[in-house]
Symmetry: D2
Subunit: 338 residues, 4 copies
């Protein structure tokens, strides 16, 4: 922790700050410049971080030196984490994993049809929402447990791992009975009760970045899950909210290499929410693979015109199939598989 | 709903869209211009909103005409809603209501001391967190039920209504036993499970705007609560996330009159989070009162240096007292009381 | 300047950084912690700022200690600057100054009519654009020199100081012949050629904050003008660009006290652009006065329906008159005049 | 243009709006719904756009139907524009063009050394700044005309087209004497005087997107140049300003396909400013090529530690060379060349 003092800070004020930090077990190094005096504190920064040094008299500003996350950091674990899903799927390894399926689970037959097509095209996991976080209370809220059953049965039938969103800590056990991967949605990235709850399970989690979350915020939310004992977390870039209105969100392509530098966890990309328009999903998917992502999660629907949610950003199976072919070429070009 | 067609849209495509809308009970008005053809759909727009008309062949763009919220809208209820809290406090009336207290409840004596001072200065309600949504899992997470007890006892002792944050749908009943007002925090503004749960109670709710939520998003989240039967919702502007780093958040002062135009619900302002620095709280509070807010919620602590959370943005009681005096003058200048 | 080293930084790397800084005249203080080593450099930080220490091997991050602006800073001049415009108007003093008038100068008679009304209501200066920065090349671009003449004549006729935007460094001399105050628009806040050019004059300048400019960026742009010798700069908060679409811009009310802390220059507010809708101008103006601004610049038009630009955000003279009455009360409440 | 009326709009108000539009040559189609009445105006929308219909009594909101740009639009010209630079370079064709070089031109020998290396690696054009838009007036402002001479000589010597930023309309002729392509920087994207001036030349222009400019704003600025007769404009995505601080800017990868849909102009990408850190330049470059860009402009420096500007985001020549090899593979994978 570094504290920059005001020009007019008194010796008493400096001593007061030093006393406080030393009482917490830190050691102070004071550097007196012509214009400013700065104090560097060496030691367990965490205890000092919660102390609001900004309000101590004489302080101009405070800069943390250590990053606030630990278990998710590259310093804690230098090698990439590889998350196993069932017997066959590994996320974070050489092969880029594709998860695909409808936004909402609407009925058994529809889900089965889509599942067969995405499986054939090369997907490894089937996505589908049973509990839907909708902006409007009057919109379709999902089939609930019935949807989970459909997802589970179709996954087994077709041979795909399954992923679905969990929104409520009370549903964590229920969802675990049916699916292989929890998804925490962007709106719940800082729903800490939910994060702790999935942290106490043994099931892999895809944690989506919040619409206005910095990469640091995302890592801190992942830290909640790891701190409870569940290390099988995949981070997901799905676009952030900016002033640009031509797209639903602004896909932050830089997040991929930045996460790779800071953390050992895999990073996957959601080009469907990252663009909001199916016509833009291919370019975003290609960019994500080229930039080094470990996986993609893509919305696919047999008949987007009739989809109960997110039809505008869902690919038809044939477009999805063509996209996968294109992505394989790019994966090879960057030394990966898909 | 208005649909703008591509220049090259065919008659079949137009008919396909019209058929779809008519099957849902809407009536189409087609206007053919030199450059573009547009279709206006008259009727129950909600059923059409969930249909992704953007993906219908020939469609260039789609514009909703009706606002997606109903119960919260000024059109649904023309007069300002006045929320009663206990016997004495009314929010949304001529008097601007001040809620104040520490960020976290730390212990009984500290809370009592602050409560007495803010009461004396003119506050009507005591705030204090028992469940704290902290970015880091290693930071103080609140006293839980013990904190709720302290809040309840101190509120009764001093004669202040009480408000505390609820983060988990499982805690809604517990919190109800102790406090007068639920607070839904910014990070949980779209935690729809939680919104539904407080919507099924009879207790007033302060709903904070999410960091990247538009005013429309905020109103839609309030709609969730009203749709479940609880109309006692106070909206809270607490700053949004922008590129500016000089302050913790950017207080969106325009939100006050915009909410007043669109909704009958009261709007209160949190200048503590809206600035993040105690030295800026007075100017933000004054601006909020001048702009027409119905209430303020302000963090106050006897010793911000030792606060377990948000010390940097907490006012000392004497500064809070001086601020209230200044605010009374501005309230009078704009035809209100405080 | 503080440099935080990577955990794996070698002694050679540390020495290389120290050598570089010492060759530039700085002195290094090294603090070795358990987890990180940091180096504080004492001395002329400016020479080091342009050195990209981030790319030196072993460096994790770099933090400047000194602010990059000098002449505009509160440390350079502790007392508020008061800018004199002509004989009678002072900006930055106890009296809050109101500048008002149409967005564009459209014709002599219209301008005269508006000028008389805003003068009577209490304005001290007349605004009006002769060179208009329009998003579309096909929109009205202003009357040019003819407009400047109208503005000059009407100002003298009615007894108001005059302000107009200058967009092109080649027009600086021309504008000087006719008006009292230069306005640099938001789109040109970092048009450094223009800033230098007005910096070489003796005429007061209103410098508007760019749509995505931080407060620090705004101060750095002002520094360009002061560095050329012109200290008569008024900063102008006019709203920033965010994700919120309910208003044209998000008025950053916090910018007022932040600028006051960091700089001695006056800060004025443009509630017309800060909201984009005339119905929101009063609340924004009141908030600005309550928060401590030194002036307001407001668009007023006799017939907004027929205005050639910005009709949507222009007040009619009677509404402007009523607003001024309300603002006087708030100014008194905060110890100012208007 | 579509006008949505307030629920309480009177017949007189409706007639007043219709009269206004008809006086401008438009025809009105009125659709009366149960909840809202809407008016669609057919005809020359431009004349109506400048009329502030929002302020007409009875109007709730106004929606434009036609896009405000013409010459830059895909509707105006369906085929991709291909911009020729000198005899050999074409931008917008199958081959993706790479422009590379130092941020600032520092001296002849250094520029020559870099030029030879980027030429060898595969670049088609040499970038280098002679007039530098620096946030601080105290930072290196560029060599001016001497720098232009160096750039011109080195370009000829090595056989590379040349590109440099022009900041001041007074320098447009001077720059033309020495270089092949004008660059308009992000800070000057809405410097309309400058846009008009380069629009009156015959020289190709790279127009960079402003930090807070929407894609529509970017197209409107390009329209200024085309409207003056110069159609040789290349648009440049270089990152936008968001709340994320881990990178200098957020590269908006979606801008590539969106521009391709809306416009016939080529789109190039600046991964150096789009990330701000040299270690992130490769991933951003790969993503841009995969997403369909027509060119890249990359900062390269022999010794980034000693660069007079932007050292932190400059690649060393060997890293640049390796990147080009990687990019060739991706270009092939997406059916392009590089």
């Amino acid at each position: 922790m570094i504290v920059i003092l005001r020009k007019d800070a008194t010796e008493e004020q400096i001593q007061h700050i030093v006393d406080k930090a030393e009482s917490l077990g830190l050691k102070a190094h004071i550097s007196r410049g012509v214009e400013k005096t700065i104090i560097g504190f060496i030691g367990p920064e965490d205890v000092l971080r919660v102390t609001p040094l900004e309000v101590f008299p004489g302080v101009e500003s405070v800069m943390p030196v250590l990053s606030p996350y630990r278990l998710v950091s590259r310093e804690f674990k230098q090698d990439n984490s590889i998350i196993k899903i069932g017997e066959q799927v590994k996320v974070g390894d050489k092969k880029i994993v594709v998860m695909a399926g409808p936004c909402s689970i609407e009925n058994y037959d529809g889900l089965l049809s889509i599942a067969r097509k995405v499986k054939k095209a090369g997907a490894s996991a089937l996505r589908g929402g049973a509990f839907k976080p909708r902006t409007s209370p009057y919109d379709f809220q999902g089939l609930g447990e019935e949807g989970l059953k459909f997802l589970s049965e179709v996954g087994k039938e077709v041979g795909l791992a399954t992923i679905t969103e969990v929104m409520d800590p009370r549903d964590v056990d229920l969802v675990a009975k049916y699916v292989d991967i929890y998804q925490i949605g962007a709106r719940n990235m800082q729903n800490f009760s939910l994060l702790k709850e999935v942290g106490m399970t043994k099931k892999p989690v895809v944690l989506k970045r919040g619409m206005s979350a910095t990469i640091k915020d995302l890592l801190m939310s992942a830290e909640y899950i790891l701190a409870k004992g569940n290390f099988d977390v995949m981070l997901c870039e799905r676009g952030i909210r900016t002033f640009e209105t031509a797209t639903r969100n602004t896909l932050d392509i830089n997040a991929i290499p930045v996460v790779k530098q800071l953390s050992h966890l895999p990073i996957i990309v959601d080009p469907s929410h990252g663009t909001g328009r199916w016509g833009l999903v291919p370019s975003a998917s290609k960019a994500a693979v080229a930039a080094g992502c470990d996986g993609l999660i893509i919305e696919v629907h047999d008949n987007p015109e009739e989809a109960l949610s997110d039809g505008a950003q869902s690919l038809k199976p044939e477009n999805f199939g063509n996209l996968i072919k294109d992505l394989k070429l790019i994966a090879t070009a960057v030394g990966r598989e898909l």
